[in-house]
Symmetry: C2
Subunit: 82 residues, 2 copies
């Protein structure tokens, strides 16, 4: 996976999940240091409709599998706890 | 919330999510240091059917709101990254 490409693609995610992957909003999860495979499955769940959320579903809608891999690799690479 | 009661109730969770809240299985999320409100909403989503998962749904099925609060407080209290 390409962490830099993931970082670029994940720029929009920072608004809620924090620039360092520690969420700025208590209702939304921290992503920093999370498991890569879990992140991939969660993003795909929003993209493919298994999980429905008014914010995350549209966010994930246009992502390719490669985007998902890169974004997941990026957040997993961030130090847990910020 | 009662973190000790949460820890007791979460004993079964350690099998997948790790004794220190760092998952032993790459497909399952780390929970240590996660946001309390997010943890509550995720557990309730499994309990109330908004999220369907063959493992998590039965795990969450019998939990009271107090259980959910205590379990969420417990995992949130663990140091992120283990």
């Amino acid at each position: 996976a390409d962490v830099d490409a993931g970082k670029a693609k994940a720029a929009v995610c920072a608004a809620c999940h924090g620039a360092n992957g520690i969420s700025v909003i208590p209702d939304y999860p921290n992503l920093a240091g999370q498991k890569v495979k879990y992140l991939q499955s969660a993003i795909k769940a929003y993209r493919d409709g298994e999980r429905k959320n008014p914010i995350m579903s549209p966010m994930a809608a246009g992502l390719t599998d490669t985007d998902v891999e890169n974004i997941a690799a990026y957040f997993a690479s961030l130090p847990a706890g910020g």
